[in-house]
Amino acid sequence: MESGSRIASVDPKLFEPYLLPPADLEQLSARLRELPSGRILDEAEAEAMREFEKG
């Protein structure tokens, strides 16, 4: 068996129980999309953003 290659993922549903009603995942997603406009994301942050959007 070859050595394993790294895979990363984010499940947006992880956040769902902790959102204060009436906030929902759509609002969280919109809030996250605001972030890159004001800063340069490092590698880990960019990966997390990408995986959140994919998830």
Binding site: M1, S3, R6, I7, A8, D11, L28, A48, E51
Partner: protein
Amino acid sequence: MWGNVTYGTDSLRRWSAQTRVCVSEKFDRYFQFGVSPDELSEQELRAFIGLGANVDALADAWIVAFDERRPSGPCKANDLITALTKLDDLPVPFAAACMEAFFRVGDRFLSDPRNSVPGFFSVHADVHAIWLINHLAKALPDDQRETTILRLIREGEAIGLACRIAYCIDRMHQADAAQRDSAFQDFAPATVEQLRNIVIARLREIARGDGLIRLPDIYLALLAWSNWADIAEIQQWFQRAMDDDEVLLKLLVKSVRVGTSYTYGERITHRIG
């Protein structure tokens, strides 16, 4: 000649503790001039246990072991945990002090993702920590076990570890929990309730500052807190976190789950960490 003789996992544990040549990971040592610096030697293990009841020295030794990285990824502390959990005759003063030391510095071990042993059958750092604490707790006299765990979860600096161990003990006492060979299985329901309350109080305290986001596994803390208290409390905290760019990004980064993908011929297997 060897008819009617069978050997089980207990034999393997005993042979490993006795460093016998028949144990695969000990075999090479019989044919080398010395133990590789990347392996835990029996001398190092004996020296660690020889620190006895000295909590400060044991905490320092754990930190040194956290910083000593193995070429395969994990650290010397992973090897120490594996070796200690194979020893069924640890002296009580050492077991108590070693546990106290780990409750002091253990969050450093849990915070480093490299301490999860890689591979298809990977072992997470927190599982290693649970094995260690469970094994050390087993070495304590029955009448000291619950009080010691209560004290360490209340006072240990490693709040992430305290949360992990309390959550593990709580899960063992759920109605649908399977019977396990654990020192925590026989804890009284009142003790488990106390553990939950201690952890909630500690999480509330650190949630006032930036302590929550600094935990090795904030999502475990949020899960435990929301299981054991009113979820509205956690939602209020999360709302404040969402308003802060730095905290929100840290929450997002900590939500990433990392796994590995293995290929063998045309077969691909995913192992989620």
